[in-house]
Amino acid sequence: MDVVEREILIAAPPGLVWPALAHADGLSAWFGADARVDLQPGGRGVFRWPDGAERPVVVEDVEPARRLAFRWLPFQRTAGGDVVALPSTRVLITLDEVPGGTRVRVVEQPAFSLGAGAPRAGGRASAMIAS
């Protein structure tokens, strides 16, 4: 339960996939939320969903055509305007050139997993509890 990993193959080279990650309007086109994010390391911003919910992020790592990493901050403003706590998670999106295009891989995990006593990346719930 401590890590979500997903991937997809896109029939285009990383250079053509990257613009969809490198700019706020590129992100907004597919993320399901309007991105207002300064996409550089340390950059801050907010994703706003169509229902009005908002969640702030901090960009942690940007390597053009290779990698985008950001951290969801541990709260969200709901559509109704309430601020609720949520686990802070880190999202790492990597692009790998493979035959046929680009493998896009997403890893999302609670931010504390990177701290002391944390499970190894890719660990499962049992590993987390056993660590």
Partner: protein, 110 residues
């Protein structure tokens, strides 16, 4: 599950000793704070503090047997936390499919 609840669960499990407490409870079944302290080689006071944090997150419950208070795992919140992560995964499935369609559309245009 409510977001606040997920946060409480993940915060409670962020501590390595609390994860050890959960593991010990899953191995030995209902246990007293004294037994857990002996098992984990930490003070009873420290275990009591961790148990109270875990109880607050709904991860353990206490029952009284005679003069002893026994703690046991409450599996439901763990299942809830797993569902919450599953929900995150489902959201990424949707987003990645949308990303693929978006790139296909822009490549055609370009």
């Amino acid at each position: 599950m409510k977001p606040d609840r997920a946060d409480a669960i993940f915060s409670a499990l962020a501590d390595p000793t609390r994860r050890q407490v959960i593991r010990a409870l899953s191995q030995h079944g209902p246990s007293s704070a004294t037994a857990l302290a002996a098992d984990l080689a930490v003070t009873r006071q420290a275990v009591a503090k961790h148990l109270s944090a875990l109880a607050e997150a709904g991860l353990v419950t206490a029952t009284r047997r005679g003069r002893e208070k026994l703690f046991q795992i409450s599996p439901r919140p763990l299942t809830d936390a797993v569902s919450w992560m599953a929900e995150l995964g489902a959201r990424w499935d949707e987003r990645l499919a949308a990303l693929r369609d978006h790139v296909a559309a822009s490549t055609r245009r370009g």
